[in-house]
Amino acid sequence: MLAIEIKGLSKEYAVGFWKQQRRPALKSLNLNVEAGETFGFLGPNGAGKTTTLKLLMGIIFPTSGSATILGQDFLDPEIKRRVGFLPEQPYFYDYLSAPELLDYYARLSGVPATVRKQRIGELLGQVGLSDVGNKQLRKFSKGMLQRVGIAQAIIHDPEVVFLDEPMSGLDPVGRHEVRELIQSLKDRGKTIFFSTHILSDAEALCDRVAVIHKGELRGVGVVNDFRSSVAEKTEVIWLGANALGVVNDLVADPHITSDTVRATAHSSDLDRVLEKLRQQHAQLISVTPIHRTLEDYFLDKTREEEKESVPS
């Protein structure tokens, strides 16, 4: 069953002094997320990730297109009982304490009074904030606020959780803890949709990822596919720049530093390259297989734009 179904979702902003120009922030997004999936939404800054999340939450309204969450229209307020949201760099009512904020949000999300208090205590423990007491949120550090943010996103035990840059502003310890939290949500069968520009996080947690760039969806891929063990290319480093001429047609991207050469060769050509280098008496320094990573996929997808765009 589809947890999230996005059909042709678009957002255009009217800009200019007379509001006559149109700036597209999101161009006809089509995306499906299965229930129980952890889905990564990747893209550079300004790609449209936050715009997509704001559209789904009803903070801004689409120019066209539609979406469903758990089968219901995404703008149906009732569906929000089963949805959690952590915005980018969240700001909360700073005059409240963490338990007060969670209690308020829990009430708004329809958590019954009988379980509220207990759940707040549990959650504060889970995000590592059990000893904040009644300290007002205005005294919280960025990392602490981020944890409160996660807590409020799941206080009502939603089935689908949307996270916008959940690691932002966290130190390595914090990031580790958040990763663990997301993993535990994953283990409990929640659907998680999180946007980030940090690829290592996506690689570690997501089942699938989508790459978005300049408002357009560039590609969707299964993370496991990027972890293939087959290395298509090999990196060769040797001493003896004069040997380059012999293997020039078999290698790519040669870099020369003093007498050291670094180049990439297709795995199928590797034996021939090594043979030729030996004949030239070049001294091999290292031979390393290169695994294609998520980063490559990402850069690949975001670079296409530059090649395709025609200068006006």
């Binding site: 309204f61 009982r81 915005p87 005059y95 949000y105 009430r107 708004l108 409020q152």
Partner: protein
């Protein structure tokens, strides 16, 4: 729905209290205590008149100032600070948010006025030396002041949904002044002719009418306030406030936030 509404109402009230809004009560008490002894020095026999005038006018004015200063940020602050993001991601309807904000600020003003009323009656007891039966009419004047608050909060809330705090404050203050001369506005309209008359009359009715809600002079002179006036003023204030709040909902409902 009621649970969400009451949650937002209560939170808005809590925010105002923690913002130290109620500290104005201290100022009010100081004002009464400081000025009361002066009254007998200014004019013998008119102490009560002056105390009632100063007291009731202060309750009105302080409340309007709070209504403006807090009201202008009710929605705009939440949009600016993006605290709305995590509210709208919950099953809260946009209209519930507006209604809750309205009720929260109104509650703040009512509590504030109630406490001031107590202080005012205490001042009456101390400085005038006793209460008469006619002093119950003072409550009618205070009730009208509350009706005035209903309208003011609705107006500042409306501005807050689309305007920046500075402009909201200016508009709200302007409407307060215009509303104070509400009856005169009607007179101006009545004296004009043709198309101007129609426009001016329409404008006069769109503007709030605070003049008819001000019976301070009457009660200061121990005149009574008719029950009919109380009823119709209540109907007017309620309908007008809800109309203005509905307009606020209308604007907020389709607004793309930052």
């Amino acid at each position: 729905m009621t649970s969400r509404l009451s949650a937002i109402t209560w939170n808005t009230f809590r925010e105002a209290v923690r913002d130290r809004v109620l500290y104005n009560l201290v100022l009010f008490v100081l004002l009464l205590v400081a000025s009361a002894p002066l009254f007998s020095q200014i004019s013998i026999g008119l102490e009560k008149l002056m105390l009632v005038n100063v007291g009731l006018s202060s309750i009105s004015l302080f409340g309007v100032i709070i209504a403006i200063f807090v009201g202008i940020g009710l929605v705009s602050k939440e949009i600016e600070k993006k605290t709305l993001y995590t509210i709208l991601s919950r099953p809260v309807r946009r209209w519930e948010f507006i209604a809750g904000k309205y009720l929260g600020l109104l509650l703040t003003l009512v509590v504030n006025a109630a406490l001031m009323t107590v202080g005012f009656y205490v001042a009456l007891l101390i400085f005038i030396g006793g209460l008469k039966k006619t002093d119950a009419m003072l409550l009618a004047a205070i009730y009208f002041i509350l009706l005035q608050f209903m309208i003011m909060v609705a107006l500042t809330l409306l501005f807050s949904t689309f305007s920046t705090p500075i402009f909201s404050a200016i508009f709200a203050f302007a409407l307060f002044v215009i509303g104070t001369f509400g009856e005169d506005l009607k007179n101006f309209a009545a004296m004009s002719h043709g198309a101007t008359k129609w426009l001016a009359t329409a404008a006069a009715y769109v503007m709030p009418n605070f003049a008819s809600l001000n019976v301070i002079a009457q009660v200061a002179h121990e005149q009574s306030v008719s029950a009919h006036l109380i009823i119709f003023n209540t109907v007017y204030a309620v309908l007008y406030s809800i109309a203005v709040t509905t307009a606020a909902v209308l604007i907020f409902e389709r607004r793309n936030l930052k």
